[in-house]
């Protein structure tokens, strides 16, 4: 099993969710993060002071999947979030040795979906 972590643009979340559902990936965990990447940020001025925001708002997805779902999931995320512009985001894939469903106590592959 793998744990797929993706950082995407917040306003792309609806598209990514749609793409994931089409790929039959229905379970995920979403959170708010601030990202520092290639994207330069934007400047705000507040009370006459120009300041550069280099921590940009991003959304982080965590999706645990079985091996055979890794590629479809990654493809779906890319399909939903890619614009070709800097700031599109990143996907990290970790090994996930174990997974447990609290409700039933099921483990591993049965538990993940």
């Amino acid at each position: 099993m793998k744990l797929i972590i993706a950082m995407i643009q917040p306003h792309k979340l609806p598209d990514v969710k749609r793409a994931l559902f089409q790929a039959e990936v229905h379970k995920m965990t979403v959170s708010n993060v601030l990202g520092c990447g290639q994207q330069r940020g934007y400047t705000e001025t507040y009370r006459g002071v120009i300041h550069e925001i280099n921590l940009l708002k991003k959304v982080k997805l965590e999706i645990a999947v079985n091996e055979e779902f890794v590629q479809p999931t990654v493809d779906a995320i890319i399909r939903g979030s890619k614009t070709g512009k800097i700031g599109d985001g990143k996907i990290f894939i970790l090994d996930l040795p174990e997974c447990i469903r609290i409700r039933t106590g099921e483990k591993g592959q049965q538990a993940i979906g």
């Binding site: 917040p10 306003h11 979340l13 609806p14 708010n32 934007y42 400047t43 705000e44 001025t45 507040y46 708002k57 959304v59």
Partner: protein
């Protein structure tokens, strides 16, 4: 001698009489009495302050009902349109509305120079009261066009409506224009202020198109939840509070207090009835007592009672409020069905209920309370009702045409709507380069 004595006697009597008379007057001087015009001015000013304060109410309601990422933008619009209205109404608006002219437009008193007061109070007081009304009409539109209208476009619009469009209509009805001559009656502005604001918002929001994500591909609506209900709720209370200046203040004098008291009770009852009616309706229709709708209902009741407040009895005020509360829900649902996206309900609250209130005067108004004709339900037949209908229709037509033109021209020249990207990121960053809630972690996504 006799006549001499008589002379003296008469002189004495006359003198004593004179003394007693003037001492009576003098006594009156000692516990010196307040001047009526002074008290009236005081009242008009206090009412003007309350109406001014409604600006805060509008701001908070509009901000609370939209998303956090556009809050600073709507507040800037709301703040600056009052500033623009003040200056625009000072330069041109007052002259157009209350200056001598023809039945269609006033043409005297630019920059208040040589302008005359439209009431018995000094012009400064009368102007301030009227300017606050003008600001209200302008700001109603901000809500309907929220979350996607360009800031620069908004500034231009708000100057134009408060310097020209609103005053022209005001002249027709309150400035002795053609509708006034027909006995069209709108005591405190269901038509002049609210229908104008509401229908300007309708034109604007149709031209602007819905916000991204408001409608699904099949045309069914998505809910885009307001981000700060306590703020909106505070705003509604402030509006209700300010309405006690809006309606009773429109008497422009205190008199023996009877009229202002009647207006105040009617205002309050209509608001309360509207709130309850809307809550019950939304509860029955959608299974949950939605606060945002109940509050819209109270505002609807307030808008509806604005025209008839001086001429109806309390029970009629309750009824007018109830209808207003139901109407507002119907309006929201209808707009959604027609694919019109009005984030804060400006059209149902101010537009629809502006019409309803104006017409209601033709139904429940009473001659004994000062109206030209009895309303339909008091045996006055359809006379007043039809006049009211004619008036509100003409006004709406004028608003739709003139504001449609203005919005169209703005659209072609500098553009009405921000870019898709800016809309998604939020207008706070895009237009003002600042966040409303810096440091708070807020989901930008729907």
């Amino acid at each position: 001698m006799k006549t001499g004595l008589l002379k003296i006697a008469v002189a004495t009597v006359v003198f004593l009489l004179f003394m007693s008379c003037s001492s009576m007057l003098h006594a009156g001087d000692e516990t010196s009495h307040a001047s009526a015009v002074g008290v009236d001015t005081l009242w008009v000013l206090i009412a003007a302050f309350l109406v001014f304060f409604m600006q805060a109410g509008f701001g908070m309601v509009e901000a609370g009902f939209i998303r956090a990422k556009n809050t600073c933008n709507i507040l800037t619009k709301n703040f600056l349109d009052f500033c623009m209205a003040s200056i625009g109404f000072f330069m041109f608006g007052y002259a157009i509305m209350f200056g001598a002219g023809n039945g269609f437009i006033g043409l005297k008193g630019w920059f208040l120079i040589g302008a005359e007061s439209g009431a018995d109070v000094p012009i400064s007081a009368f102007w301030l009261f009227q300017a606050a009304f003008c600001g209200a009409a302008a700001t109603i539109v901000a809500g309907g066009m929220a979350e996607r209208m360009k800031f620069s476009a908004y500034l231009i619009y708000s100057f134009l409506i408060s310097a020209f469009i609103y005053p022209v209509i005001g002249h027709w009805i309150w400035g002795g224009g053609w509708l006034a001559k027909l006995n069209f009656t709108d005591f405190a502005g269901s038509t002049v202020v609210h229908a104008v604001g509401g229908f300007a918002a309708l034109v604007g929001t149709i031209l602007l198109k819905p916000r991204i994500g408001k409608f699904k591909q099949d045309g069914s609506p998505n809910a885009i939840a307001g981000h700060n209900i306590p703020l909106a709720s505070l705003g509604v209370f402030i509006l209700w509070f300010g309405w006690f200046g809006f309606n009773p203040g429109s008497t422009l004098s205190v008199g023996d207090g009877n009229l202002i008291a009647r207006i105040a009770i009617n205002t309050n009852l209509a608001a309360a009835a509207g709130g309850i009616a809307a809550m019950i309706t939304v509860w029955r229709m959608f299974g949950k007592p939605d606060l945002s709708m109940a509050m819209n209902g109270a505002l609807a009741g307030l808008v509806a009672i604005t025209a008839p407040c001086a001429f109806v009895e309390p029970w009629a005020a309750v009824l007018i409020g109830v209808v207003g509360g139901v109407l507002v829900i119907a309006g929201v649902v209808l707009l959604d069905r027609f694919g019109v996206d009005d984030p804060v309900g400006a059209v149902p609250v101010h537009g629809l209920n502006g019409i309803w209130g104006t017409l209601a005067l033709g139904l429940f108004g009473q001659k004994t309370l000062g109206l030209a004709n009895n309303g339909l339900f008091y045996g006055g037949g359809f006379t007043q009702f039809l006049i009211q209908g004619l008036g509100v229709c003409s006004v709406i037509l004028f608003v739709i045409l003139s504001m449609g033109l203005i919005f169209k021209i703005i659209d072609i020249t500098i553009g009405l709507r921000v870019s898709r990207d800016e809309e998604l990121k939020g207008l706070d960053i895009g237009e003002h380069g600042m966040e409303s809630y810096s440091g708070f972690q807020i989901f930008l996504t729907e």
